[in-house]
């Protein structure tokens, strides 16, 4: 994985010093809260319900054991012994003091980490496929391109005060494991007929209150023009993106209002202009970065055979592993969704264990997944049983990947100052209900996603089953929706009808799964059955 050189380290160190100085000026009264807020947000520091919250970047979801140990140490030293892994492959801490924030950033800088641009109206942490560099189906490892873009977007002088936040996602396989088309810009690295590498640009996707799936605006940008093209996309957005209404300020609204053709025309015009401006790093820079992402020293000729005589282990292998490009290896997923647990939360102790497993069994590499789980990308099949035993003993061996218990949930009204309703208790009740009724395995792949407000951090628009918490006359109420997907078949979910209270929505989900079990045909997932039979049979079961 990538390692800082003296330049990268100097930049992160300068940022720590800058933020320490900004905190001082805030506490001394030289900065008002209105002036300070955008600055602290650009360092990931929010003010939430109970305290400050710090979001730490995990660029494209990749980290090593030393970094994970540091994340655990920060949880113990500055927080309350745990952290929350997010849908954009970051981690956030819920109980941070402003006085400690600069010290935390200084600790992070010692392990080449930071909280740069994890919030604010700037280019955010760049997300990617969590199985990059490991997946059997990828064209090329997308992370070098993401790292090139990370450097380009860090402290960008022109794009630090955009109309609104800006999220990039870079993937490189047909299968989309990163909700690529629901980002402001989704880039798919691919090869053309001549075998040349380039980038397909999808611009104007997003969730939030106006969910949109991004259209393709350029099928193939040569890889040595990637940065220039991104710069053109951003400049047109910075020029025309709406500033009068924050709910209409995302690029998806601009692309929608201008029309894809006009937006594209303007980008191409700007791109032609920028091609002469020398903004593109030389190809040698990409090559330099690529060298850090070379394959680890995989053993050759390993067998793919596995002793599955332990049924619990066999189940975990079946649900929680993904095919690897190297024979004899898999990517294994550590579920942070124990039955009745808080989705995405991990204790410092668990983080230390996960770090040790990465060191011992996965070439010192970990992945934070947008599904709020942790991946061990390069695991020898022969080591799986030992890994699973250790995970199981630590309460991390839940075999539920992509099943209903593996739901995404935002922090909701238990922590978040924007939320209208709690998300976590709904997640917990659904998890417990389906554990008790034993339907999870029979239901198979069923992606349930819960957001506590319209901002959609819990990706409810993209859930096979989505739940949105709203405030109805001071009471928590939950709208149910079906048919969303954030995979390569991206679609937006449709609302079933009137909302439910907390227990009501759990019942409703249960009933909906009965409709699916009754109606499904061979091999159909919940999503497929819904797409085939439509909303009516579900509505009948929910509202009669």
């Amino acid at each position: 994985m990538y390692q800082y050189d003296q330049y990268d380290q100097a930049m992160v160190d300068a940022r720590v010093a800058e933020f320490r100085d900004q905190c001082r000026r805030r506490l001394e009264g030289h900065l008002t809260e209105d002036q300070f807020k955008p600055l602290r947000l650009m360092n990931g520091l929010y003010l939430q319900l109970h305290a400050y919250m710090l979001r730490v970047a995990v660029p494209y979801g990749t980290l090593n054991s030393r970094q994970m140990h540091m994340l655990a140490d920060i949880a113990d030293k500055y927080d309350r012994g745990y952290g929350h892994f997010t849908t954009r492959q970051n981690i956030q801490y819920n109980w941070i003091k402003l006085e400690d924030a600069a010290d935390i950033l200084a600790d992070l800088s010692k392990v080449e980490m930071h909280a740069i641009q994890t919030s604010g109206n700037c280019i955010r942490n760049i997300s990617s496929d969590h199985f990059s560099g490991a997946a059997a189906d990828e064209v090329i490892d997308p992370r070098p391109y993401a790292e090139l873009m990370r450097q380009w977007s860090s402290f960008h002088p022109e794009f630090s005060y955009l109309p609104r936040k800006f999220k990039f996602c870079v993937i490189a396989s047909e299968k989309d494991r990163a909700a690529m088309r629901l980002h402001d810009i989704g880039i798919r690295i691919l090869k053309n007929e001549k075998g040349e590498v380039g980038a397909r640009f999808h611009v104007g996707g997003g969730m939030g209150r106006t969910p949109m799936i991004s259209p393709v605006i350029r099928d193939f940008v040569p890889v040595d023009q990637l940065i220039t093209y991104a710069e053109a996309c951003l400049r047109v957005y910075n020029r025309y993106g709406r500033r009068d209404n924050k709910y209409k300020a995302r690029i998806k609204i601009l692309v929608h209002e201008l029309g894809k053709e006009e937006y594209t025309r303007q980008v191409e015009e700007e791109f032609q202009h920028l091609l002469d401006q020398g903004v593109e790093p030389p190809y040698a820079e990409l090559e330099r970065i690529k060298a850090y992402f070379a394959d680890p020293a995989f053993e050759e000729g390993l067998s793919d055979d596995l002793d599955l005589s332990d049924p619990d282990f066999a189940l975990w292998v079946k649900t929680n592993t993904n095919p690897h490009k190297q024979a004899g290896y898999v990517s294994a997923v550590i579920s942070l969704k124990p039955v009745g647990g808080i989705p995405g939360d991990a204790t410092a102790e668990q983080m230390h264990l996960i770090a040790d497993l990465a060191k011992d069994y996965s070439f010192d590499e970990l992945r934070v997944m947008h599904t709020q789980n942790i991946g061990l990308p390069h695991v020898k099949k022969a080591d799986l049983y030992a890994i699973w035993q250790k995970l199981d003993a630590a309460g991390l061996g839940t075999a539920n990947l992509d099943q209903i218990g593996d739901m995404i949930a935002c922090p909701g009204l238990d922590y978040c100052s924007l939320a209208n309703a709690r998300s976590i208790p709904v997640a917990q009740k659904i998890s417990q209900r389906f554990d008790k009724n034993g339907k999870s395995a029979a239901l198979g792949e069923l992606k349930l996603k819960i957001s506590g407000c319209i901002n959609a951090c819990g990706h409810h628009h993209a859930g096979h089953i989505g739940i949105l918490g709203v405030d109805r006359k001071g009471k928590e109420n939950y709208q149910l929706s079906f048919g969303g997907s954030e995979g390569e078949d991206t679609s937006l979910a449709k609302i079933t009808g009137p909302g439910f209270d907390e227990d009501g929505v759990v019942d409703a989900v249960d009933k909906a799964t009965d409709v699916y079990l009754r109606e499904r045909q061979d091999g159909e997932r919940f999503l497929d059955t819904y797409r085939r039979i439509g909303m009516a049979p579900f509505k009948e079961a929910l509202y009669d």
């Binding site: 330049y7 100097a10 930049m11 100085d21 955008p38 630090s160 109309p163 020029r239 790093p281 330099r288």
Partner: protein, 149 residues
């Protein structure tokens, strides 16, 4: 509405030539008359309208009514990319923590509404030991330093 903007005090200036004291006119007024040498860009203005006239402009003021509105960064950088050599002055809600980015986008004069603490401002101008991008200043990006020679 007046066609002439109020005068701001220039607190920081990185030019050797004499400061332009002509009152800056609005973009509309500038395009409608031929003799103005100073023009003020508001956030909604399209700086590209000035491109045919760059050779007769000595001062462009870019107004930041709110520091969070970043359109002026693109306007400034574009003018520099198109060869504008005159003074480029950031005016309005110009604060310490935006100075270095503004300078990178080509601003060479700063006239904040409220005077800034000198020491803090100098620290801000000197904040970044290196830079990751090529922009409108003459700093070499990190990628260029890495692949020198």
């Amino acid at each position: 509405m007046t066609e002439t903007a109020p005068e701001n005090h220039v607190q920081f200036r990185f030019r050797d030539d004499a400061q332009v004291s002509d009152p800056a006119v609005t973009v509309d007024a500038f395009l409608g008359q031929t003799n103005a040498a100073a023009v003020r860009i508001e956030p909604g203005d399209d700086a590209r309208q000035l491109l045919p006239h760059l050779d007769r402009i000595a001062l462009v003021e870019v107004n930041f009514p709110a520091f969070t509105d970043g359109r002026g960064y693109s306007a400034a950088r574009l003018l520099r990319e198109e060869g504008y050599q005159g003074e480029l002055r950031a005016v309005g809600d110009v604060l310490i923590d935006q100075l270095s980015h503004m300078k990178r986008c080509g601003f060479d004069a700063f006239a904040p509404d409220a005077p800034l603490n000198e020491e803090d401002a100098q620290a801000a101008f000197n904040r970044w030991p290196e830079v990751y991008q090529s922009a409108a200043d003459d700093r070499q990006p990190i990628w260029a330093l890495r692949h020198k020679g």
